[in-house]
Symmetry: C2
Amino acid sequence: MSHTLGVRQAQKLRTRQALLDAALALLEEQSLSSLGLREVTRAVGVAPTAFYRHFRSIADLGVALVEEALGSLHPMIRTTVSPAADSEERIARAVDLIAGHVHEHAAHVRFIARERHGGVQPVREAIREQLARFARELKEELAKDEQAAGWSEEDLLMLAHLYVDQMLITASLFLEALDGAASAREQVIRLARRQLRLISIGRRHWLD
Amino acid sequence: MSHTLGVRQAQKLRTRQALLDAALALLEEQSLSSLGLREVTRAVGVAPTAFYRHFRSIADLGVALVEEALGSLHPMIRTTVSPAADSEERIARAVDLIAGHVHEHAAHVRFIARERHGGVQPVREAIREQLARFARELKEELAKDEQAAGWSEEDLLMLAHLYVDQMLITASLFLEALDGAASAREQVIRLARRQLRLISIGRRHWLD
DNA sequence: AATTCCAGAGAACAGTTGTTAACTGCATGG
DNA sequence: CCATGCAGTTAACAACTGTTCTCTGGAATT
C-alpha cells in the first residue's frame, strides 16, 4: 500500500513543481546560465530564500528539468522504432510522432535543444548521459530487427546515435516552425522523411 | 589602390577586435544571454561606455561573432567535399579536417554550437542563415558529382543539410573530447567515419 | 496536549548590472 | 595651424543579483 503524502510534504512538492514550471516558462527566451534565482521565485510568488529549500542552485534546478524533459521523451523513443507494415509507413509515423511531441511539449524540447550545448556544465552532462542511455536502449530495439543480422555492436550503436541526433534535429526544426505557417511545418515533414529514408537505405545496404 | 587606414581608425578596429576576442573567451563557460557588457569591457581594460562605440548591444556583438566564426568555417566546407580517390579516403579526409578545425578554432566552434539554439534570437537567426547558405553552396558542389545524376534539386538540398548537421554534430563531439584522453578522440573519429559511410551508402542507392 | 520540525517570510548585505550625461585628448581634414 | 570629429573616460543613477541570518506559523511526532 502506498502511503499518501502528508499535507506538508504535498505542499512542498507543489511549490517545487511551481518553481520548475516557472523556470521552464522563463527559459523560452533566455538560457539557463542567465536565469536568476530571484526571477524564478518572483514568477512563482514566493520569497527568494524559499528557493534553497528545493534546489542548491539554478544549475541544480536545471538538472531536475533534464530529468523531467527527457522522462516525457522516453516512451516516444520506443514507439518511434515500433514495427509497422513497410519502412515508408514507419518513417511517416516516426516523423508525425516527433511533430506531435514537439507540439505538446514545446518548452521541454526547447530546453533540451538549448542546454545540450549550453553554458552550464552539470546540465550538459545530464543531457549527454540521458541521450546516451536513449541510444543504448534504441540499439537494443534495433538489434531485434531482422535487418540487424550480421551487424556488430559498435555499428548498431553508431546507427542508434545517428537516429537520436536526427530526432533532435527534426524536433528543433519543428520548434522553429511552430508558430509559423502550416506550410513551413509541411516542409519540415518532407525534409525529415527524406533524411530518414536515406538513412534507412544506407542501413539496408550496410553489409553489402 | 587600397587606402591604408588612419591611425585613428586602426586603433578603433583594434579595440573592436579586443572586445570580440574577450567576449569569445568569456563565452567558453557561459552563454551569450548571460554575458554582461561590463564583463567584456573589464576583460579588455576599457571603460564600459566604450562598448557603445562599437556595438549597440551584446546581441549585436553576438551577430558579429557569428560572421567571424562561420567565416573561418567557410573554406572548410569546400575542401570537405573535394574529390579524392575512393569514397573511403574522402571520408577519412573530411573527418580529419573537422578534427583539425575544431582543434584550431575551438572557441568559435563552441560558440556556434552553443548559440545555434541559444537564448538570443538575432544570433540564432544569423547562424541559421549562414548554415542555410552553406547547405546551398554544398548542394551546388554535390550537383557536380557524377553520383548526382538523376537527383532532384530538393533531394540534393536534403543531402546537403544532412551533411552540414552531421558536420556540426561531429565537431561538437570533438569539442567535448578536446582536453580528454586521445582515445576519446579516436572514438569520435571511428563513429564519425561510420556515420558518414552509412550516409554515403544511402546516397549511392538513393535512386534504386 | 505538548514538543519538535521545517517550508517559507522578512530584512539586510555587498556587489553587480545597463544606460545617461558631460568631459577630454588627440588624429584628422580644411 | 587651427577647428572639427570622435574614441574612450569619468561619475552617477536606479535597479537588480545571490546569500546570510533570524523569525514564524502550523503540520508532524510523541
